[in-house]
Symmetry: C2
Subunit: 355 residues, 2 copies
């Protein structure tokens, strides 16, 4: 939580508000609920950059025609363990949830289910759809491609998306393991935030327009580029471009417009979803015990100076989510203002801050 | 190639020699060929740390009883799209090749095939088994767990394997995309090499026994630990531990001995293999064209100072492999000495260096 978060709101109220706004913008009720889920979950789990801050942009995409509010998702390939979906321009969380649900359905029959989705839109967090597998006691995986906002390894200009990847894994007695990572060192939003607050950034995050190291965050929007997480991050971004883009028959690389500026253009990116029914591979009780062993083993490792606890991916997010569900989620003033603007535009009741 | 590589050998001769030595150590002919393939391929593709330098250790594992020369691999779960294998202590490349071949067979029916392997041994490169999918025109993926030689994020002691992951993807008119990465910043072998040559290492590669940054490579074997590729690398190592270990019903974490020191102990680690029949998802011609587009797009990005070319993962390795097949592969004196030792021990004809 940053210092400009001043007011807290009940999670259920924010969810209902977001769903109402999306319905007012033209989405069917179920799809509006799905997108609201994705946004509010991100705020609750500490991924505020993918939370309600995005609601005005998503609504702009629908209003300006880039996204298709009433899209009918079409299954273009259907086999017992795999499927290919055409999302027909549905908002990303709608397309991704549909893709993952179908993968889960297939995995419940075949042990594994893989689906690809083409003609999608900005996915939001990959964790949201991957985590749908948890309710079925399965392992979920979502990988997407996107607008090229990162330099390839050795490059100094944007050339490929930072193509986020998420895994969600049932966690035994503890939180599920949820890993959700983009293949750049840091997200572009973090660099833009530093530019706003006048902070310097470490070398290695971005290069300037000439391809040189820089600690000035303002060099990034001025023609610079995000750097990949080493050659390994670049390599994973390439694999994400193949699985989420090429294999899906989706748009790739420069064929994908920037979703939040080109709000009237089809994004057309794609995703790859996999569900694994772990009970077909090992006894679920044994799986759960080993996950507990994994968590406990990491916790018992000697720590570096200043480190309080060693966590599995997703443990911290689950704690934040519990806290948000109990005590509300804090929103920055700017986001509150955006929501108030939508309330006024669509004549909705603005959620009240908690006392 | 490092400066101490003085002599070159014909690839086919090295392959035949390695296979003969492994057969002499007790492996069946087909399994000996598979292990020889894996080792020589690594030398040819520039991964010398996983090449013939490992042959004496693998033979020691068989001789000392840690690995099972005559292992019969057993399918313990078999379904149309998935399988679980018990490798019964077979050498890793044998277990992994078997696992990937079965995944390919399943994918040719179901579109996707996933296999897990338990009771395996040191896998060598993950690329070797992943690349078996290429011959079938498929995408291959191999993920393994291993001895805990890396600190978890925030930790200062070894706690988890650096759990390598490989993808192999048909590359259109160009080289296949082959990504093979461990989840540490660098391999332990690189740090040990710097310690031998007296070089300093950059901060961020390892921590010393107290968990502090160090540029002294000798701090690593003296109780220090390899660092993960950030929290993202740690998170991926955890997922690799789950897919390659927990889901496979294999040994995990501290249950896995160090394969090259505990040569009389079963390693017992596991792998996860996936094959995707891309032709079930998109037209193969379209897939190939988009892979060419991907390669050409990366090549056309403006480069950082000093960078000659932007490649896809695996392009450099393929060039090295072609060069090795044409002109032989260079081996360091120490490796040549090891091979000569095996030749003498098993009464085999030592390959002759090329003129």
């Amino acid at each position: 939580m940053t210092s400009d978060t001043t007011k807290r709101f009940a999670v259920a109220e924010l969810h209902a508000f977001a769903a109402s706004a999306l319905q007012a913008a033209g989405l069917r009720s179920g799809d509006a609920e799905t997108v609201a889920d994705a946004l509010v979950q991100a705020d609750c789990r500490g991924a505020a950059s993918h939370g309600l801050i995005r609601l005005p942009f998503l609504i702009a995409r629908v209003r300006d025609g880039g996204a298709n509010a009433q899209a009918q998702l079409q299954t273009v390939v259907d086999a017992p363990a795999i499927a290919v979906l055409d999302a027909n321009g549905a908002l990303g969380p709608v397309a991704a949830s549909h893709g993952m649900r179908l993968a889960i359905e297939k995995a419940s029959q075949a042990g594994v289910g893989v689906t690809t989705v083409r003609n999608s839109d900005f996915i939001g967090t990959c964790a949201h759809s991957a985590m749908l597998a948890l309710d079925a006691g399965m392992i979920g995986m979502t990988w997407t491609n996107g607008h090229p906002g990162m330099a390839p390894w050795g490059g100094r200009a944007n050339g490929i998306g930072n193509n986020p990847l998420a895994f969600a894994i049932p966690g035994g007695r503890g939180a599920p393991v949820v890993l959700d990572i983009a293949m750049s060192v840091v997200a572009g939003g973090k660099v833009r935030h530093a530019a706003k607050t006048g902070e310097q950034i470490p070398h290695g995050w971005v290069v300037d327009a000439q391809g040189n190291d820089t600690s000035r965050p303002e060099d990034f929007p001025a023609g610079g580029a995000l750097l990949a997480l080493g050659h390994k991050g670049y390599g994973l971004a390439v694999v994400g471009e193949v699985l989420g883009g090429v294999l899906a028959g989706a748009s790739i690389l420069g064929g994908i417009p920037q979703w939040f500026t080109a709000t009237d253009k089809r994004v057309g990116n794609g995703h790859f979803h996999m569900a694994l029914d772990l009970s077909r591979f090992v006894a679920p009780g044994q799986f759960a015990e080993r996950m507990d062993e994994l968590r406990n083993s990491m916790r018992d490792i000697a720590r570096r100076p200043g480190v309080e606890e060693i966590l599995l991916p997703g443990e911290g997010a689950e704690r934040r989510e519990r806290e948000a569900l109990a005590n509300g989620v804090a929103l920055p003033e700017a986001v509150i203002g955006d929501l108030a603007g939508l309330a006024s535009f669509y004549n909705l009741i603005m959620p009240q801050a908690l006392a």
